[in-house]
């Protein structure tokens, strides 16, 4: 196992592209194009195919990172991108109306993949009031019969992104 593939998903604007750009050792591959729908109020570009980046862990392990598009209309890309993957990182944008439901939506859509592998939940944009406590996410996971790490992260920080990847790798090593 000298190369592993990790997939990052989550709602549009959660920070998948930002996370990969923050950590990749090579210039990341991006497929962002202009937003033409209501998302344009939030951001001018959105990923329509994939993001790609590479990094090397301390033990020499090579990690290939794939970011998905966030919108459900790109679910065909989700199916393509998980092939051969080791695990999933779900970024949950805590500024949105119902972050726990957002997490559930991605866990449902990636259910087969997650059942075979595992996932780490990254809570992003926590610098906002009235957002569910970390425990609420653990509770929602356990109601689904899932035990995955939930981390509060700033995806603009390389160290935070690497924390999620390390959590995923160790979750799967000891699974």
């Amino acid at each position: 196992m000298s190369e592993i593939k990790v997939i990052i998903t989550g709602t549009p604007g959660a920070g998948k592209t930002t996370a990969i750009a923050a950590i990749s050792e090579v210039p990341p591959v991006r497929t962002d194009t202009a937003t033409t729908d209501e998302l344009a109020d939030v951001k001018s570009e959105t990923t329509v195919a994939m993001d790609f980046g590479e990094l090397t862990l301390e033990d020499g392990q090579k990690v290939f990172l794939y970011g998905t598009p966030g919108q459900q209309r790109f679910e065909f890309m989700w199916k393509i991108l998980v092939q051969g993957g080791l695990g999933l990182i779900v970024l949950v944008d805590c500024t949105r109306a119902d972050p726990i439901a957002d997490m559930g939506m991605y866990l449902d859509n990636f259910a087969d993949f997650v059942a075979e592998t595992g996932a780490v939940i990254g809570l992003v944009k926590r610098d906002v009031n009235d957002t569910p406590a970390v425990d609420d996410f653990y509770q929602a996971l356990s109601q689904r019969g899932l035990m995955f790490p939930v981390l509060e992260v700033d995806v603009r920080e390389q160290g935070d992104v690497s924390l999620m990847i390390e959590a995923l790798v160790s979750l799967l090593e000891f699974a």
Partner: protein
């Protein structure tokens, strides 16, 4: 909902361009205009195909084509072509935020498809805002 909306007269103009394409090359059985971020805008299909899904897929394929070109040190991706045992799918950019896709049976001539797609883009480019 897509915010890119075409006026009624604009949609009629698109339909007339699509009709011309289909009469110039009767192997063409689908023409679709969608947005770069994958929303279906206007289409003419001679057979049933899932326009919303195709619109999303066309935006992915075009974005990947353009990205692969850059990685391979090539510039200005003109078309992405998917060539299959029984047909062709040709995708190209239209204005800044739109995508034109042409779907044809295998009896189409690829050179012909190129030329009718190019000239459609020129016509649409002039007319659409």
């Amino acid at each position: 909902m897509s915010q890119v909306r075409i006026s009624e007269s604009g949609a009629q103009f698109c339909q007339s361009v699509f009709d011309d394409m289909m009469s110039q090359c009767d192997a063409v059985y689908g023409v679709l205009i969608s947005t770069v971020d994958g929303h279906d805008v206007v289409r003419s299909f001679k057979q049933d195909m899932p326009a919303p899904k195709l619109a999303a897929m066309m935006s992915s394929v075009l974005a990947l084509g353009e990205t692969i070109a850059v990685e391979a040190d090539q510039q200005q991706c003109r078309y992405v072509i998917v060539e299959n045992s029984n047909g062709y799918i040709l995708t190209l950019r239209l204005k800044e935020k739109l995508v034109l896709s042409v779907i044809a049976r295998a009896n189409a001539n690829l050179g012909m498809l190129h030329s009718i797609s190019r000239s459609a883009v020129e016509k649409l480019d002039e007319k659409l805002r």
